[in-house]
């Protein structure tokens, strides 16, 4: 089956995303869903190494290229606008569903090392 994908701005390069791969789980203390929650901060050092801070953990990772790039696509199956528009792209039948390329993923940020704890309040005097 052929799937037609549409680049958002008519042929220009879609935005480039990156995967974040963690060796471990993200869990919630209150056992609620993670949706919409702030996970942490992702920074890059001057050398380009990614640093992720989750809770009181700090993770150091690296950027690796994926063997095969991935596409992030959105499926659209609104019939009416598709029929109305009748772009140059849709030469064929089956205008029911279309896929919009949202982003292209070429890299992933891999955090596989053991996280280091961040100690918030260090006593001034020992």
């Amino acid at each position: 089956m052929q799937i037609f994908a549409k680049l958002p701005d008519g042929g220009t390069e879609p935005p480039s995303w990156a995967l974040v791969e963690l060796q471990g789980d993200l869990e919630s203390r209150s056992a609620t869903s993670l949706a919409g929650q702030l996970i942490g901060d992702l920074h890059f050092t001057r050398q380009g190494a990614p640093v992720l801070i989750v809770g009181h953990h700090i993770l150091w990772g690296k950027v690796t290229a994926l063997e095969k790039p991935l596409l992030v696509m959105r499926k659209r199956d609104d019939l009416t606008p598709a029929a109305a528009e009748s772009d140059a792209m849709e030469t064929d039948a089956e205008p029911e569903s279309r896929y919009h390329v949202q982003a292209i993923v070429r890299n992933k940020i891999l955090f596989k090392s053991r996280p280091k704890p961040i100690i918030a309040n260090v006593p001034k005097k020992i």
Binding site: Q23, L38, V54, P115, I118
Partner: protein, 863 residues
């Protein structure tokens, strides 16, 4: 021997000869450092190899007195400088550096002697340097000392004469006996008839020769004479290969080698042997014979380390200057086995010092350790195997004295008796010798005692006397040997005494009464009755027992019991009246079990073994009882536990289980297992895996009550297999844990139990986060079993509350107002990071590699 300058006094002719030679070689450096002693010895035996060196030394020695002659002419002192030793260098020009001495001769020629001080001379010849140290010339002092000595002798003689006149002597018999000096009459015979020369020595000839030879090995170091070293005589034995001639192993071995300082390898001789064999006499005679003056140090002297050191140093590094006997010392240390170990260690250190090092570092060493010894040292002891003597024994020439032969001693005694007018016969003397076991000292003492009362000595008197029976110690082994061995008939020449009641048999030591008396004396001289009895008890069954009814065995055991009772009573009541009776156990055993066959008694060990085992088992039992549950303990006394409970308990506590997995057990088996578990936990028994000698693993009881309950090799017939024991061991651990938990919960209240059930055990989570703030603290932590509990930080809130109540005050008692927010940048970050850390999401890291398991995940599965 003269250590002074050579007698050929130099004159101008010699010097002119010397100067002629000097002109040939413009400058001549002469080394005068070598001691003159070696020069003298070299003169005697000129060696072709060192001929040139020798000539130079001779020239130097001639030149030196010439230089000194000036000072003799000019002043009182012979040598101006305090040290008489220099390195002399002669040149025709003024030396560039250092002091010098001008020499002008009749023909106007002038030479210069450079003068340098030099290292002090080695100790081997300490005397030659002494001349200049004295304020008066040596000869003068010697003469004066001689005069004093003569005067003292004269005074002594006068006093002796006075004493003789004053003493009132009634014994008329003494008057015509000897023409010797009257003073000697009162002296001891032992001293009077001491051997004074080598030929008079009574001791074993090989020993005499060996010791003398060893002393001669010192000649090189002490006198500077060359030592004749015997070549090893191994090749003599070779020719006959068929049978080896019987070569007696020598009692000692002299290492015929000299070390770097010309001293023999064995720096000390150790003479050992029973008392009265003439060890001390031998040492004295031989040392005198070899040209030494003897210095003796014995047990009556101070034996502290410092005293020992001073004595040692004064004896081996100095020599008497005065008196008629200016000979080098030989130190004889008598009864060294009684000396304290530090003193002996010091001696060993002194002996080993300076053996390997050269003269250059000898000076350094002198400060650290004792100075090396340059004179022979002879040590004398009775027992060479005293622990303190061990280091000395290794470096010493050990000579064990064989006893003097009775015949030789008896003939000498006969000679002495004849000279003192004591009438006796050889038989009596021989029996005296045997009775004293050839102790010369006690023989002579006895003879002198007899002589002081009468003029005849008969065999009777010897037999009835108690001479020589003291101070003689029989070892335990010797005593056992004597008891278990029938004495062999000895020579018959000992005539039967008339007064002795046992004279019906010939006195060859085999008659009943003789055996009886012998054993009594042996046992008494041994003294260790308890050990002796133990040895008898362990060895008497090894003897061939002749009577088939074992009457003798029963009797022997009776006697042992009697001895034991006696001993117990003795120790208990301290009633030493009973002491003599103890020796008759030995006699009874001798009469019951003695055989002609040689037996080799073994040292008794059963007693100590049993004692050890007893204490070990007691410990086992104590450890078991201490851990037993109180409910069981209160019904089990120590005695009843061992006798009544444990033997059966071990049988009962073996479940009848099939060796299968615990899931497959029938309910009956489970019931039985539970019963055994309860039993073993109650008695604090368990199984512990152990590896035996063959490397096999097996489960043993812990504490090992089988050892306590069963004798020897006997083991229970019924024993659980390995797997069952393993199962039981594991179940016991679990059961104990369960009980501990139950006990903990039991002590807590009901609320605690409830809390324990509701409290979530988030153990892994806690381990990962380690954040105590987010920890849900259970209401009753005591409810958690001990092994599951974890350390927790103290809650800080309580502290804060407490701080609210008690306001902080400063030194003057004013309340300190809490400061407003601190403005330091570090504190600025703190709330920030605290905020950051307070997020709900946390990261749970998973250990391992993320590519460990790869699985295809389809998108449709994810949705």
């Amino acid at each position: 021997m003269d250590y002074d300058y050579p007698p050929d006094a130099p004159d101008y002719d010699d010097l002119e000869d010397l100067l002629d030679e000097l002109e040939q070689e413009k400058q001549l450096v002469i080394d005068d450092t070598a001691p003159k002693r070696t020069k003298l010895s070299a003169k005697r035996t000129p060696d072709d190899e060192h001929y040139d060196d020798l000539m130079e030394r001779i020239r130097a020695s001639r030149a030196l007195p010439k230089a000194e002659q000036f000072s003799v002419v000019n002043g009182v002192e012979r040598i101006p400088a305090p040290a008489a030793k220099r390195t002399v260098e002669i040149s025709s020009r003024v030396p560039l550096t250092g002091a010098f001495q001008k020499l002008t001769f009749s023909d106007g020629s002038r030479y210069f002697l450079t003068v340098r001080s030099r290292q002090p001379q080695p100790l081997a010849n300490p005397v030659s340097s002494r001349t200049s140290l004295l304020s008066r010339p040596l000869q003068e002092l010697k003469d004066e000392a001689q005069r004093l000595e003569e005067r003292r002798q004269r005074l002594l003689q006068e006093r002796a004469v006075l004493q003789k006149l004053a003493s009132w002597d009634t014994d008329a018999a003494d008057s015509g006996v000897e023409s010797e000096d009257e003073t000697e009459r009162s002296s001891l015979w032992v001293q009077r008839f001491q051997p004074r020369t080598y030929v008079e020595l009574l001791s074993d000839e090989t020993i005499n020769r060996g010791l003398l030879h060893w002393l001669r090995l010192w000649d090189k170091a002490v006198f500077g004479r060359d030592v004749i070293i015997k070549p090893p005589k191994e090749e003599k034995k070779k020719p006959d290969g068929k049978f080896k001639p019987f070569v007696r192993k020598p009692a000692f071995e002299i290492v015929e080698e000299l070390d770097s300082t010309n001293r023999p390898k064995q720096k000390v001789a150790l003479l050992c042997g029973p008392p009265g064999l003439g060890k001390t006499t031998l040492a004295h005679v031989l040392a005198r014979h070899a040209g030494y003056s003897v210095l003796e140090m014995n047990a009556s002297d101070d034996r502290s380390v410092t005293a020992f050191r001073t004595a040692l140093e004064s004896a081996t590094q100095m020599r008497p200057m005065l008196g008629a006997d200016p000979r080098p010392n030989c130190l004889v240390i008598d009864e060294i086995d009684g000396a304290p170990a530090p003193a002996i260690n010091h001696l060993v250190a002194a002996l080993s010092a300076g053996s390997g090092d050269t003269s250059s570092n000898k000076k350094k060493k002198k400060k650290e350790g004792p100075a090396p010894i340059h004179r022979p040292v002879i040590c004398i002891c009775n027992d060479p195997y005293v622990p303190a003597l061990r280091p000395l024994r290794q470096m010493a020439l050990v000579m064990t004295f064989p006893p003097t032969t009775s015949e030789r001693l008896a003939s000498r005694l006969a000679d002495i008796c004849r000279r003192n007018g004591l009438k006796t016969d050889l038989g009596a003397l021989l029996s005296l010798c045997e009775k004293t076991r050839n102790d010369i000292r006690s023989c002579l003492g006895f003879l002198q005692f007899v002589r002081s009362r009468q003029e005849r000595l008969t065999l009777d008197q010897v037999q009835s006397s108690t001479v020589g029976q003291k101070d003689h110690h029989k070892s335990l082994f010797a005593a056992w040997q004597e008891i278990f061995n029938m004495p062999r008939p000895q020579r018959k020449h000992l005539v039967v005494s008339e007064t002795d009641g046992s004279s019906r048999l010939s006195g060859d030591g085999t008659s009943l009464s003789e055996r009886f008396n012998n054993i009594v004396s042996v046992v008494i001289s041994c003294g260790e009755h308890e050990k002796l009895a133990q040895g008898l008890f362990e060895n008497y069954l090894n003897v061939k027992i002749k009577d088939s009814t074992l009457q003798s065995v029963a009797l022997g055991v009776d006697w042992l019991c009697f001895g034991d009772e006696l001993n117990a009573e003795l120790q208990h009541s301290q009633n030493y009246v009973l002491l003599p009776y103890q020796s008759y156990t030995g006699v009874a055993f001798h009469l019951l079990f003695a055989t002609l066959q040689k037996t080799r008694p073994a040292f008794p060990q059963a007693d100590s073994e049993t004692r050890q085992r007893h204490s070990k088992l007691n410990n086992l039992l104590a450890s078991m009882i201490s851990e037993m549950s109180p409910r069981t303990r209160c019904f089990n006394g120590r005695g009843s536990l061992v006798k009544d409970v444990l033997p059966y308990l071990l049988q009962v506590a073996v479940p009848n289980l099939r060796p299968v997995s615990s899931q497959l057990h029938t309910p009956r088996e489970e019931e039985e297992l539970r019963r055994v578990l309860h039993l073993m936990v109650a008695y604090n028994l368990t199984y512990r895996q152990q590896r035996d000698a063959e490397g096999q693993y097996q489960y043993l009881l812990e504490p090992n009550m089988e050892e306590l309950v069963y004798f020897g090799e006997e083991r229970p017939q019924r024993s659980a297999p390995y797997t069952v024991k393993q199962l039981i061991a594991r179940e016991i651990e679990l059961e104990k844990m369960r009980r501990a938990e139950a006990a903990l919960v039991g002590t807590d209240d009901r609320r605690g139990r409830g809390a324990r059930e509701t409290a979530p055990p988030p153990a892994p989570e806690r381990a990962e986060t380690g954040a105590p703030a987010a920890e849900p603290t259970g209401p009753a932590p005591a409810a958690v079993p001990n092994h599951l509990r974890q350390l927790q930080a103290k809650p800080l809130a309580e502290r804060a509350v407490a701080d609210d109540n008690v306001l902080p005050r400063d030194f003057f008692g004013r309340v300190i107002q809490p400061k407003p927010q601190k403005e330091t940048p570090a504190d600025d970050e703190a709330p920030d990071s605290g905020h950051l850390l307070r997020t709900d999401v946390w990261y749970h890291f998973k250990e391992g590699y993320n590519n460990a398991v790869r699985r295809t995940v389809r998108v449709q599965d994810l949705a």
